[in-house]
Amino acid sequence: MTIFFSNPYLAVVFWIGVGATILAALLAVTIVYLRIAVTRSSREESDFLSIWRPLLLSSLHSSVPAVLPTLDVGHRLYFLKLWNDLMRAAPNQAAVNLTVIAYAIGCDQFSRRFLRLGDRVECLLATLVLGQLRDQAAWDLLVTQTLSSDSITSIHAFQALVQIDAEAAAQQLTPLLLARNDWSIAQTAAILQSAQSAFMYPLIDATLEIKSAHLIRTLRLIESLRLSLPQSAVLRLLDNAQSTEALIGTLRIANDVSLLANVRPYLQHKDWRVRVQTAKLLGRIGEHSDVNRLIPLLADVEWWVRYRTAQALAGMSFFSNTELELLRNNLSDRFARDMLSHVLAERAAS
């Protein structure tokens, strides 16, 4: 074929094209192979489910069968998936039955093996299951997983540890929890919701001793868990706030009337986000005298300040709708009047 080409470079180009076509053919074979593998795997899983799903479902409503089928080595992953799915929705006694079945077939052992030696999918499924099993023997392996650079694997390992022993997890892993910015606040808060009492004091203590980068994350978690920080701690945070974000985070969790005198000056803060949080705070815990402090914010240049101030006023138990309407009618600022109308309409609609 090279002789056919007058120019050797044209031959090179031609063979690049041929090579690409051959490679495409190989990839096509790979695609077909993958599809066959997926189809075969689906069929295997269906066969597995036809035996094990009815068995596990019946154990949810009655007792554990005396004789369990043998679980093939190749079906272990299917078992982990099925068991985990059922466990999440199982009420207490049913969860006990499922746990008995899992231990009876050695699920804890092969899950720990997956955790040590498995690929990412096996590791993740094993992590989920060991957490549901409350398997203490997997503790060290799971702690190692929390240090993984992969955030999905690590946060689910953390979740498993919280399920196994929340107190120990709080003692050992709070610093890691606060340092891992790749663990989303939303997901972390969801995990901690079931272990609030365990994490309360470690999180509160963390506000005493850490740098400001972790402080904001700590405050967000405290807020998400609706934990109450002691008044002295909040006061110290307010006095020593090294950034606007830290100040905002502190205002969001403040809830003690004794702090009112300290927070009122923030109504005039130059950052509108601080003014918003201060208005919200006064709406939660403010006194009657705070009404007159809030009214000027109805004419603030920032929409969100006006909105939250109007909501704060509307939320004060000693400030009735009639008084709000009267206030609105007497305001000279159009934006303030519009905002109060908006909030009054929201309250009427809810």
Binding site: T21, N84, R88, D150, Q187, A190, A345
Partner: protein, 433 residues
Amino acid sequence: MIIDGIVWCIIGYFIASHGGHLLLNMLAFRSMRGAEQAKILADLPHVHSGLEPPISMLLVTHDGVTGVVESARTLLNLDYPQFEVIIVNDGSQDGTMETLADTFDLLPFPEAYWIQLTTQSVNRIYRSIRHPNLRVLDKTTGGRADALNAGINASRYPLICTIDARVRLERDCLHRIVMPFLRTAHTVAAIGAVRLKEDDRYTKSLLSRLQIVQYLRSSLFASLGWSTLNALLIAPHGVRLLRKNVVIEAGGYRTDARSEEMELILRMHRVMRGKQQTYWIGFVDDAIGWQEPSSDLVSLKAQSILQQRMLADSMRKNVALLSDRNGNLAGRLAFLFSTVFEWFGPLIEAASYTLVAIAFLTGIIAPDACIAFFAVAIGMGILLSISSLLLEEISSHAYRQPGAIGALILAAVVENLGYRQVNAYWRSFGLFK
């Protein structure tokens, strides 16, 4: 000599184009490492902590009374802890407003409307009694971009989500598309992938499969590849989740853009680079929704021409990205690549096929040069199409009908034996029309 030089330039262009897209596919493959884990997690019930960022969904309608109610119902049924739906009625004359009012029990609401972006006047704002998270803006006609800006003005939440009207959303789409925002606070936009639905009608199935292969090759995995470099400039149509304050800072949607969505993404890159702030524009390759492919050649041609015009317009309006001294290598490379291979690519491809064919038929070039050209153009094209199918098979197995994979492989070959060339000609028209 000159002819030889032109032929070599053409061959070099095709090698560079296909080679570049293959590299993008490799980058996309690297980013799929978490795909298997994500599938397992996606099957688990979502645990809501209440801290997922709330989202404002914007739906624009103009004389679309037949579809807007169904679209609104779809949005209201989405599974997500906190979101609102804002329908912007952009001066419809077909009774849209009355239909919406009857269907959703709308009442006028004295909203303190905040004008952050200038738009045509908003006549009235309504709120649904039945669905507290649904509001409707009735405004003077100003076009889709103007309506989206009005929706932004009315939105309460820090993230705004816009949807192409043709897309049918998965119920948990918001959980998937919000993930880049949960991973890092630097995310300013996330583009959600949609898949083309396979047309089961026998007579038209080949056309739909050709479009599927083309979509996977040019829109889906190329976008994923670029997003790994934070250089996703030409975002495919579908679903977008944007950080509102960045959109406002960029000036909102341009009313003079042919594709306001595409142009905005480019401008967001410019704005963030101008500020020299760390930012991320991500691509979520997990299927957020589905859309129907074009059902016939006439509509396909019109769509191809329109898309090319939109792309050209967006690129032209943001050509400053190429010379932006704050732009990084990835950004400049992405813009240069998109200019050469996407913006002017169809014209170069169409002209190349035409020139080589004419030159061969008139004896100006030798048969060996013609053979070499077609070998590399078609061979590498087939490799690119097949590699995109492989990525699809690894990531989502979206097309599971019996025989679908075989048919798609065949379509990947056929695509490069005429369909792609015809498409290049159509898209070239889009540059001149």
